[in-house]
């Protein structure tokens, strides 16, 4: 502390900036103001003038300014900032051009730590419909589809807008940018690109299937440059994944995985994809879909090379088909919950081969005996964390990196994943989890028959 104080003291006098904000004088250094960022209003204030009569004047509230100045000096908000609502701080930060710093400090995805999360807020929705789909952005804005409406909350969880759509209910929703989302439904033809601020449909995208019937949306996914949509024809005899250009004008660029069914011929690789995830570390698209038939639940998981249009790997699921499946790029692993066993399995992507098999992380004996214990379970990966919902409970699976000197009985292959149950006793036994999403430093949970959205985050203080 002493040394940094000394170095500040040795700075030349001319670097000191005097400001008059709404009648109060502030003194700081050019260096501190420069921390606001090169494009911000604060960094443009020069120290050229030093005479008292020529002090730069800013016609704003001095108390609010002092909060931002403290923030620039220390990197933290002073305790005095709690005198102001977040909404007030945000609108003032927009004036000074320091909103990005505010977001970085309060909703930064790098601060996400699943072990710190606890159920802390409820986001209310208006009307009577419960959430059917939810989508988040990196910094924690969240879009919620409920009934025919989409409500958007910004990163500070302030309600931004609610718009009316043509859908009766939205089954798939994906935020494309903070103000634009892609939405589709299994009972409504076409994928709509919707402007969430103004409330109109920017683009209406349809898949031209061979039967010329309507095309419903089964799943939406995206990479940095592409938007993927799994379409099924209205007669349910053909399906495909259409790849749209996300950076340009939503032009269709590729069509992959086109399947057509004739007569009674059926095989699990013809099932339309109901989940699409981009695996960035391998540049592959994971597409999974399952089908409940007389012989039990059948499913298929494929990894697609989008550019060549080839499935580079495929797994047919017959015995303990997945209830849900997810990929973690950072772990290079795929995870599933078995629909019969209800247990979590993983598959290492690093040495994938046609013979690769799931490794069970739980009780292997359940494989044969159990009956649909995994029905409705969800798996979601966020960074190197794997979240699994079973009924109303949420489990966190994390990889524990153990020293090679430890040779325990808990080894599954060469990797160790450990389970922890999230939440407190009072959170147990809540309604069934329907969606798990992540944004900023938060986790969002929706439940069956529960209208407000749960926000799990680190509780300050």
């Amino acid at each position: 502390m002493n040394s940094s104080f000394g170095s500040q003291k040795s700075e030349p006098e001319s670097n000191i900036v005097t400001l008059n904000v709404g009648g109060e004088l502030f003194q700081t250094t050019q260096k501190t103001l420069a921390l606001a960022g090169p494009n911000s209003f604060l960094s443009t204030i020069s120290s050229s003038s030093n005479s008292i009569s020529d002090v730069p004047f800013i016609d704003r509230d001095p108390e609010l300014f002092s909060v931002f100045l403290s923030f620039l000096r220390t990197g933290n908000f002073p305790s005095k900032s709690t005198n102001f609502d977040l909404e007030t701080l945000i609108s003032e930060s927009q004036f000074y051009g320091v909103e990005p710093l505010l977001i970085d400090s309060l909703s930064n995805p790098s601060q996400f730590n699943p072990l710190n999360l606890e159920k802390s807020l409820l986001l209310p929705l208006n009307g009577r419909d419960t959430t059917s789909a939810i989508s988040t952005t990196t910094f924690g804005s969240v879009h919620v589809a409920h009934g025919s409406k989409i409500t958007s909350f910004d990163w500070s969880l302030t309600r931004k807008s609610t718009i009316l759509t043509q859908f009766v209910a939205i089954d798939s929703l994906l935020a494309v940018s903070p103000d634009v989302a892609a939405a589709g439904a299994t009972d409504f033809s076409g994928l709509q690109i919707i402007d969430l601020e103004k409330g109109y449909v920017k683009e209406n995208l349809n898949w031209e299937n061979s039967t010329r019937s309507s095309s419903t949306v089964q799943a939406i996914g995206s990479s940095n440059e592409h938007l993927f949509t799994s379409f099924e024809s209205g007669r349910r005899n053909s399906n495909a994944i259409v790849v749209y250009d996300l950076l340009g004008d939503f032009r269709p660029v590729f069509e992959i995985s086109r399947n057509e069914m004739y007569g009674a011929e059926f095989n699990s690789s013809l099932i339309p994809a109901t989940k699409l995830s981009w695996v960035s570390s391998y540049n592959l698209l994971m597409a999974s879909g399952s089908h409940s038939g007389p012989t039990g639940v059948l499913g298929s998981i494929k990894l697609w090379d989008v550019r060549s249009g080839n499935a580079v790997w495929e797994m047919k699921e017959e015995v303990d088909c997945f209830a849900d499946v997810a990929v973690s790029s950072s772990l290079s692993c795929m995870f599933k919950v078995g629909i019969n066993s209800g247990e979590v399995f993983f598959l290492d992507l690093r040495n994938l081969s046609p013979e690769s098999e799931w490794v069970c992380l739980g009780n292997k004996t359940k494989l044969i005996n159990a009956k649909k214990e995994g029905l409705g379970c969800k798996v979601e990966c966020h960074g190197s964390n794997v979240f699994v919902s079973k009924g109303g409970d949420i489990e966190l699976w994390s990889e524990v990196l153990v020293n090679s000197s430890l040779n325990g009985e808990n080894r599954s292959g060469d990797r160790v994943f450990k389970r922890s149950l999230m939440g407190r006793v009072e959170d147990m036994g809540s309604n069934k989890v329907t969606n798990l999403r992540f944004g900023g430093n938060k986790m969002f949970v929706t439940r069956k028959d529960q209208q407000p959205i749960e926000v799990w985050q680190k509780n300050e203080g």
Partner: protein, 476 residues
């Protein structure tokens, strides 16, 4: 402003000219351009930058959020932590801040599919509200038993309550900013009150017809004066059913003309229960819905109030208009004075029918399709129904439930798509939650400003619905 320092002497100030104010001992510094939107500037004498700060003997703590409001054109929610809206509005009036702040004190634009129950306002005593009027921009009027309670239309704070000579008020309307008109089920005449006094009464009289006597008021139009018109209308009904609409001059409080007199001996000629003025077309719309032993019956009539001529009418059941939905008579009806259409809800099916006021013919009704079958399933034949048009939406109260039909946004307006096309963009949504609907049967819905007000049967006070500025996030 009371503490005028001196008359403005230097109108040539540059907008960037700085001004120092000493409010109760605390120095504030701002610029001419910030103060320009208030009367404060004009009352200050500003000459040189070196002059001592102008002293105003007020509380500096409350001045600070008001100055922020002038700077940013929005009221910071933080200000409401320390001061009530009422205090802030009062203080802003002291400083002469007029138009800009009032809009920042009111809630954001009302959106029916993003509105929620915010609060309930209830008069201090005998609080079951028999009628209310929210059409005035300055005050909200509540009639309860024989009293009128005035509330500030922006802050919803109670300003005064007046005891009228009536035992009960069944109809109330603000006809000018100062005068309200009231009518009663139990005594004759239309009565005018300022906030303090009874200023006159008006009776429907016809010396040539002995049947016209002791007429009671059944409805008062929501001020035929929203567009600055000088008249309003009221419907009167005599003991034996004889009824008519009187057009009344607002300044003299005298009858200008009587229109639509009828005998009242059948449902088709019963007294009007709802009067609304459509300024764009210069039409007065009157309607009545009666519920009898054989179900609902009702009518709508459109008059040109200047000539007294009836332009169009429809009667249900039957009448001269052929009804494509036989037996599904209207349960309630309203007119949208901005969107220019009639909206009715069928008493049997619960379906919403709309008719364009500019294209009324023998069967103008278009029935809206509800793509969500789950909503219609809750409708039970014979339930209570209330229809109110506000800001391009049709609000329907079905027993306790509140729903709205609203139009989707379009990227480009398709011209010539026809009525069917236009109405296909409407979607039905619940405004309320299930627990809201359990508070009682909805009696009246009326919009005013950026709010919707709802009164329920045998429930004290009225409910206020707003599109909330804050998300209302709850900590667990």
């Amino acid at each position: 402003m009371e503490t005028k320092v001196s008359a403005s002497s230097s109108p040539e100030l540059s907008p960037n000219h700085r001004i120092k104010l000493n409010i109760g001992g605390k120095i504030f510094e701002t610029t001419v351009s910030t103060l320009q939107s208030s009367a404060l500037l004009a009352s200050l004498s500003i000459s040189t930058p070196t002059q001592p700060p102008i002293f105003i003997d007020r509380n500096p703590d409350i001045f600070s959020p008001l100055l922020s409001l002038l700077r940013t054109h929005r009221l910071h929610s933080t200000a409401l932590r320390h001061f009530s809206l009422h205090q802030l509005v009062n203080e802003s009036q002291f400083y002469g801040l007029h138009s800009c702040p009032l809009s920042s004190f009111s809630p954001p634009p009302f959106s029916p599919f993003d509105a929620s129950f915010v609060t309930s306002i209830s008069p201090p005593s005998s609080a079951i509200v028999s009628d209310f009027s929210a059409s005035s921009t300055t005050s909200l009027l509540l009639a309860h038993s024989g009293k009128i309670s005035y509330y500030d239309a922006t802050t919803l704070s109670h300003s005064s309550t007046l005891r009228t000579h009536l035992d009960g008020i069944s109809a109330i309307a603000a006809i000018t900013p100062n005068i309200s008109a009231v009518g009663s089920n139990s005594s004759a005449g239309l009565h005018f009150y300022t906030r303090a006094d009874h200023v006159g009464s008006l009776y429907w009289v016809d010396n040539s017809d002995t049947r016209v006597q002791k007429s009671r008021v059944t409805s008062i139009s929501d001020s035929v004066g929203n567009g600055g018109e000088s008249v309003f209308s009221a419907a009167f009904e005599c003991k034996h059913g004889e009824n008519a609409v009187l057009i009344v001059d607002k300044s003299t409080l005298k009858v200008v003309v009587e229109i639509g007199r009828q005998s009242g001996n059948s449902a088709k000629s019963s007294a009007i229960r709802k009067l609304r003025w459509v300024p764009q077309l210069g039409l007065l719309v009157g309607s009545a819905v009666n519920c009898g032993a054989f179900g609902y019956s009702g009518y709508v009539r459109l008059w040109d109030p200047r000539s007294g001529e009836m332009i169009w009418e429809t009667n249900e059941p039957g009448g001269m208009v052929r009804n494509s939905r036989l037996g599904d008579t209207m349960g309630d009806i309203d007119v949208d004075p901005e969107g220019l259409y009639l909206a009715k809800v069928g008493s049997k099916t619960g379906d919403l029918g709309v008719a364009d006021l500019r294209k009324l013919g023998s069967d103008p009704w278009v029935y809206l399709k509800d793509p969500n079958p789950g909503l219609s399933a809750n409708w039970k034949d014979g339930g209570s129904v209330v229809v109110h048009c506000f800001k391009g939406n049709v609000f329907v109260g079905r027993d306790g439930g509140l729903e709205a039909w609203s139009k989707m946004e379009e990227r480009e307006v398709v011209e010539g798509g026809g009525d069917e096309m236009k109405w296909s963009l409407y979607r039905r949504n619940y405004v309320d939650k299930v627990e809201d609907s359990e508070r009682g049967i909805i009696r009246k819905i009326e919009g005013g400003g950026n709010r919707l007000f709802v009164s329920r049967e045998n429930v004290e006070g009225i409910e206020v619905w707003e599109t909330s500025r804050l998300s209302g996030v709850k900590a667990v």
